[in-house]
Amino acid sequence: MLKRFLATHEFRLLIAAIALTVCLALGSPRFLAPQNLLDLLANTAFVGMLASGLLVVLVAGSIDISFTATASIAQYVAILAAGHAGVGLVGTVLIACVIGTLLGMLNAWLVSVLRMSSIIVSIAMLNIYFGLLMLFSNGQQIFSMPDWFPDALSWVVGTAPNGDPYVLNAQIIGLILSFAVTWFLLNRTGIGRQVRALGGNQEAARRVGFRPLRLSLIAFGYLGFTAGLASLVQAQLAQSVTPNVLVGRELNVLAAVVLGGASLAGGQGTVLGTILGVAVLAIMENGFILIGVSSYWSQCFIGLVIIGGVAVIGLERKRQRNHASRVIAGPAMTARTITGGTE
């Protein structure tokens, strides 16, 4: 078990994350301060929650990059309803999640009906969703939040030496919850395993009687659902809603998930990997600010890390494939080796 883990991509990412943390802790004493870590978590929540949703779509063998537009719409409508129609906490969350889920499912349905590649459909839908939102909102920001909103779901859990409170807030709860639920979905439910099977071999999934359209609806719908939740968490953090502030971040989310080991070809990717992918990018971004690296440089570095990380994954997969084909061509293939005896 342990030996298997040591050979995984997740293990290498973990080492990278630890190494980064150590370097940054040495470079800036503030990095490991509890307050900085809490801030780091809260600031990562939006990307992290979306990453967990996107992971499910990638595992299913599709891709959807329209989720930032989905989140923008869900956020705008839900906060509008909360501010003007007096919808409570539960209602607001419900509105955002339902909108997100339905828009996600619409993408899945279009991909299936039009038989188009999901990347094209989701680029188109990103534009349509975002265009419609800007049209109806006139690009106007919302500042009037209901009174309960700014402090909803936050608890003081401790006090810093300087007297500042440590707060467990909606961002951190949302982040943990979305990773936990995604893990449960992908590993413990029959539907989650069907989704993974679909991403591994669509034709085979069809042949064993799994229903690709239904599974896509679930995967895309789930991403939409997390987008709805993430949008509220983000609105609370920003204390305002700006319709055009989220769109443009979808590729950062995609990069984090792919760095975490998910494959655009489908069927690959784990929640642990995604957490680490998100963490590595978040730690780098935060650390660069703390040690005063120009934000342009930090963007370049992040790009390099993504290329390097994905290249390592690619090399590793190639090595495994070669290994498998070498076993086929290997000498002395006997009845014993076929039935799994030791080579």
Binding site: G190, G200, G267, T334, T339
Partner: protein
């Protein structure tokens, strides 16, 4: 007529695609616990029949399907599985990203609610125990060699409580030892009362364990025969409908100059220490099972898979060991790949454009543009020369039949006036009549003085259509035979050794 002893009964099954009759009025019964072969050439309707049995496609009205004594009016894929029919497709339909255990017990995921990993492991373990197989339950299928993947697929059929297991071309990519293991598994299943249906166009291997054979030709059933009195040859003639009798060929000019000389060519992991030569007008066969390194060797000659060690000489000039494909073409080597669909042709482009692809440079005028006159007249020449049946040279290549596509690929490379022509499995997926045409074309090319290498795993193909055969196994040359001086059985024995 309906008896419980029959797992499957079909009557009056027909199926039409557009104007083509794929199946007409087929009756078939499979008894419980029997091993039944379904034999037929490519295009005889075998795959359509499997699709109908597995509920993937419906038969035309009037067809009757009875499974386990119960008639099925509208058979769906799920119903077919639920009634105990399991198809192991040639591609095996496995999930490379899942473990062995999960692949075997994949049907468990149909149950609503939470995944019980312990149940999945137990089911997988049971299926393997029933067949006497040991595999690492936690290994990912992507990491398994092909023979083990096939075992996983068979275990999955067992785990699904199959009463009839249909195997589509199960031996196509196995070595002789692996085929033996598969046959003993078949006996295991049979002894448990499970019926097994082999679907194949190469039945010599499975004939020995079979009880009965049903032969299809052009969508019609010729009959069901006892396997006991059936020979490979008789079966072949039934499948084809006419007997092609070929004579072995001997090379008329043994002293002709050597075109290609290969000395000690090796590539780590692919092949070792290959030495051979081909003379002007000679047809050299290279045979061996999948994974013997034959294709990798050919690709090395053509500059697509650089060798690590050894020497390649063409017409007395040594090629650089890591030569490029461009250099190989310049030296006069042409290569027609095994998978002409992905490697040989641009399917959406016209026949003419495909034919011109290799010689564009020679056709081009001073500024690099190809004059329209040449664009039209050259393809016409080749279409006539090789008897390609195409209404218009501007039609996409994808609209041609397999045999005609193969000829386009041939023409494309012949246009380069090669000294050495390498044909990798030139008749795969080609029906028997078109095969004959390709063999004739190869003989003519050789008679014109081109040195030809034919790579094939079909033993009769290399035995009757080449002058000399090199046998490869696990990347090494294990024999060299002259068909005119040995028997087909001897050649087969060398390949299977």
């Amino acid at each position: 007529m309906t008896t419980a002893a029959n797992v499957l009964e079909l009557s009056g099954i027909s199926r039409r695609f557009g104007g083509v009759r794929a199946l007409s009025d087929i009756d078939l019964e499979v008894r419980a616990g029997e091993v039944h072969c379904l034999a037929g050439e490519n295009g005889s309707g075998k795959s359509t029949l499997i699709k109908i049995i597995s509920g993937v496609q419906p038969p035309e009205p009037g067809g009757r399907i009875v499974i386990g004594g119960e008639p099925c009016a509208h058979l769906s894929a799920a119903e077919s599985i639920q009634r105990g029919i399991q198809v192991i497709y040639q591609d095996l339909s496995l999930f490379p990203n899942l473990t062995v255990a999960e692949n075997i017990a994949i049907a468990q995921h149909h149950r609503p609610g939470l995944v019980k990993w312990s149940v999945i492991r137990r089911k997988a373990d049971e299926a393997m125990r029933q067949l006497g197989i040991q595999l690492d339950l936690d290994a990912y299928v992507a990491d398994l060699p092909i023979a083990q993947r096939q075992l996983v697929a068979i275990c999955r059929a067992m785990a699904a409580d199959a009463r009839l297991v249909i195997m589509d071309e199960p031996t196509a990519s196995l070595t002789r030892h692996e085929v033996d293991a598969l046959l003993s598994l078949t006996r295991q299943m049979k002894s448990r009362g499970i019926a097994v249906m082999f679907v194949s166009h190469r039945l010599d291997e499975v004939l020995e364990v079979s009880d009965r054979v049903t032969v299809l030709r052009n969508g019609e059933k010729l009959g069901t025969f006892d396997a006991a009195g059936m020979t490979d040859r008789a079966l072949g003639e039934l499948m084809i409908g006419r007997s092609f009798s070929y004579e072995t060929q001997s090379f008329p000019h043994p002293e002709a100059p050597v075109v290609l000389a290969v000395d000690g060519l090796s590539r780590e992991g692919d092949f070792q220490d290959i030495s051979l030569c081909v003379r002007r007008g000679e047809i050299l066969g290279i045979t061996g099972r999948l994974g013997s390194g034959r294709t990798e060797f050919a690709l090395s000659l053509f500059g697509m898979n650089p060798a690590d060690d050894g020497r390649i000489t063409v017409d007395g000039h040594e090629l650089a060991l890591r030569h490029t494909t461009r250099e190989a073409i310049a030296a006069g080597i042409a290569y027609v790949p095994e998978d002409r669909l992905t490697l040989g042709l641009a399917m959406r482009h016209s026949i003419a454009d495909n034919l011109l692809l290799t010689t564009l440079k020679n056709l081009a005028g001073p500024v690099g543009l190809v004059p329209d006159g040449r664009r039209i007249e050259r393809p016409r020449f080749w279409i006539e020369a090789l008897g390609i049946k195409a209404p218009q040279s501007e039609n996409p290549v994808g609209t041609l039949s397999g045999g005609n596509q193969q000829r386009v690929v041939l023409a494309k490379w012949l246009a380069t006036k090669p000294r050495l022509l390498i044909l990798d499995s030139p008749t795969v997926g080609v029906d028997i009549g078109a095969k004959d045409g390709i063999y004739a074309a190869i003989r003519e090319l050789a008679a014109e003085g081109i040195a030809v290498i034919v790579i094939s795993d079909e033993i009769p193909e290399v035995f009757y259509h080449t002058h000399r055969v090199v046998v490869m196994q696990h990347g090494r040359m294990t024999g060299e035979l002259t068909p005119a001086g040995c028997s087909e059985v001897e050649l087969r024995r060398t390949v299977d050794a």
